[in-house]
Symmetry: C2
Subunit: 212 residues, 2 copies
């Protein structure tokens, strides 16, 4: 479904190049990884010359940065679907949603967190997009802490631990170091629960003993 208002007439001006290039590049990324994204091939598929893309993307890396930004936005949306009515359940759920996002979109996730291909500090919008997604995780933890469900340890510490855990699990599973969700459906839940049990307030030592 092209956005081009005059799709039938073959005009000199494409009319929707930036958007369609973004979409096609995203598709290529998801199917074949970031290394498969070539501006020339992209231009050819779009019926346009290669330098035309440079009118809209400073260079290849900035195109990748845009893909990563939209990836972080997708991640944030997915994380925000978690039911927050119970801070306790939300803690586990948000971890599982995080991991499942990475497993659903391994190539996109790798681009988002592939530090070498997209270093921090170069694309400010990318940096803030990452922080915003991360914020959902932190807010969830903060809520659980305010309710007294988790220990009163520094929020930054608890958040760092939670993020490290889900990010590490995501990365290790999509790279084949740990069994995938298909092979071990309950791995993520077990792993997340394990960390959570180290973070409980004293009056909530056993997860199983407490019911919503």
């Amino acid at each position: 479904m092209p956005r081009n208002p005059t799709p039938l007439k073959a005009t000199y001006h494409h009319g929707d190049l930036p958007h369609q290039a973004h979409q096609l590049a995203l598709e290529t990324l998801r199917e074949h990884g970031d290394a498969a994204i070539s501006l020339r091939a992209l231009a050819k598929q779009l019926g346009v010359s290669a330098p035309a893309l440079y009118r809209h993307f400073i260079d290849r890396e900035s195109l990748l940065a845009e893909l990563a930004i939209s990836g972080f936005e997708s991640l944030r949306e997915r994380l925000q679907t978690v039911d927050q009515s119970s801070p306790r359940l939300a803690l586990v759920d948000i971890g599982l949603v995080y991991v499942s996002f990475a497993q659903d979109e391994p190539n996109l996730y790798r681009l988002m967190f592939g530090g070498r291909v997209l270093p921090r500090g170069v694309h400010p919008r990318l940096d803030v997009a990452g922080k915003i997604a991360f914020q959902v995780l932190e807010d969830t933890i903060a809520r659980a802490q305010q309710v007294g469900y988790v220990k009163p340890i520094p929020l930054s510490l608890m958040t760092a631990a939670a993020w490290s855990l889900v990010h590490g699990l995501a990365q290790l599973t999509i790279d084949g170091h740990l069994p995938s969700a298909k092979a071990e459906p309950h791995l993520a839940e077990g792993v997340v629960t394990l960390l959570l049990e180290g973070s409980l307030a004293n009056n909530e030592q056993q997860l199983k003993d407490t019911s919503p």
Copy 2:
């Protein structure tokens, strides 16, 4: 210090190309990342033509694979320096050593775990090298479990959680998402301890209350 037995005579045959290429590539990797490794540039620095390298490395990727393999061996060596006399202290220490390895060698670590650039199943030696390094971590956890220090949960679960945590923390810090060890010297310790407290056997609920 060239291995070449006749370093002074400029011979047609280099004599030590594979080894020196590996070393120089490793140096380039550590300083500038995997993307900076070019066989042409490498050959030029070694005073040799580019195709000569293809006599010793099937392609660029197999050279990277060799670097990653030596990286896993270095990691294993570092992990094996951990004092195992106290299973309890070894648990924390091995986590800290793991994270510090990644922070000392960010580019090497990224290559080792950059799933896209070196996919699993393509270079068997690489896969086993990764498993062997991982084994040190698992053995340490198994020991602590046999001593009764950690819960009798499945070893694979506990190991997956521990590896995920340290790997995630390593990756997030070297990519600038979480504060580095310089900015937050005790972050790694706090994070590792947090997971550990969720894994303690019931009679060891408080880390601080137990002395070696």
